[in-house]
Amino acid sequence: MAEVKLFGNWGSPFSCRIEIALKLKGVEYEFIEEDVYNDNKSPLLLKYNPVHKKIPVLLHNGKPICESVVILEYIDETWEGPSILPKDPYERAMARFWTKFLEEKCFPPMKQASWSTGEEQEKAKEEATELLKILEGTLSGKKFFGGDSIGMVDIVANFIAHWFIILQEITGLELLTHEKFPKLGQWLDDYLSCSIIKETLPPKDKLTASFQARIQAATTSK
């Protein structure tokens, strides 16, 4: 029986984060696919995450850990290998700060800009642009948010590098471009050429098809 199990979904940026971290540390794990988007959650998932009933859940020696950022820190503290968080307390505080910034401030308007229309979309686009400018600033002199190698912030920014870029292509949105954000553009190129990232991100065509199906379903139900 595998000592490390991960409850996730092939298309979820959140469980993808955990897979990236486990692979960085060279940890073998069993991936348990949860049909979350069809609200078909397994009894085990409901048992291990009764509070939120969400993926990802990491099961280590039978003990569940929930909330992706909490899981990332747990992985960093439990296994040897490349650091996910820096060692210096101030740098750690900065990494945690930018992680929270991405999750709470950046992703909502970026998602909103992708899925909404009209005035709502315009507002979201403006907000997202301002936030991307802040992110661009944090990359000054650095290849990755984590410095020379991928760290916590880069892992959490997987949403931007893959899911958001695909949504942009589908919707014709041009929020994040190499021209508008040269440092973020370079980061995208470097990030997406990391072997662990390449092998862990869900296939682009599969994700594109699933987004297109969602858009189709949303427009036909109106």
């Binding site: 820190e73 945690r96 700060f97």
Partner: protein, 227 residues
């Protein structure tokens, strides 16, 4: 030993500001408490926290650290005086961080929703949600405390600070809404814990007095109605 040139930018009513102050007290680290004027933001605050422009901000030497729980973790990692705030075991740490996230993302917004709820039914529903959350936290307490007085065990820890900072707001909400939220019968362990937490040496001088906080809340409500 780390330099003790520490400032906290904040305000006495804010539960979030309490968190780093409790942590610094646990570590016996002296700090300068710079209170923001309510209704305006100082240049120092805007310079130190340009992204959120919010309190608390800790300035250690020249370096600003923002977001209350991030500051608490920073304090724990820099100073080893007093006792450890985060548990030593990685799994226990993950559990503490999980519940702290739950408190900030779900439980406290639920508490705030009570005073904003319009009508008796809405108020009752909002209160029931907060009580349901306290029942979950009671269970978490039993598991984390392992029979001792605090979530952190013998001494106050991360989760005690994360939840305990809201006790004064909880009491004010109960009094102003004429409702009982922290119930001795429903959550007996939390009920006892609240008393112990509030009277702890690291907490009692930074926890706002209920009457004073209630007056402040009334002023806030009056201002928001007037605008």
């Amino acid at each position: 030993m780390a330099s003790e040139d520490v400032k906290i930018l904040g305000g006495w009513p804010s539960p979030y500001v309490m968190r780093p102050r409790i942590a610094l007290n646990i570590k016996s680290v002296n700090y300068e408490f710079l209170q923001e004027q309510f209704g305006s933001k100082s240049d120092l605050l805007l310079k130190s926290n340009p992204v959120y422009k919010k309190i608390p901000v800790m300035i250690h030497g020249e370096k600003p650290i923002c977001e209350s729980l991030i500051i608490v973790q920073y304090i724990d990692e820099v100073w080893d005086s007093g006792h450890s705030i985060l548990p030593s075991d990685p799994y226990d740490r993950a559990v503490a961080k999980f519940w702290a996230t739950y408190i900030d993302d779900k439980w406290f917004p639920g508490l705030r929703a009570i005073s904003r709820a319009e009508g008796e039914d809405a108020k009752k529903e909002a209160a029931e949600e907060v009580i349901a959350g306290l029942v979950l936290l009671e269970d978490a307490f039993i598991k984390c405390s392992k029979g001792k007085s605090f979530f952190g065990g013998e001494k106050i820890g991360y989760l005690d600070i994360a939840l305990g900072c809201f006790l004064a707001s909880l009491t004010v909400t109960e009094k102003m809404g004429n409702i009982k939220l922290l119930d001795e019968n429903k959550t007996p362990n939390l009920f006892k814990w609240a008393e112990k937490f509030s009277s702890d040496a690291a907490v009692k001088d930074v926890m706002p007095e209920t009457g004073k906080l209630m007056d402040f809340a009334k002023v806030l409500i009056a201002k928001s109605k007037a605008s």
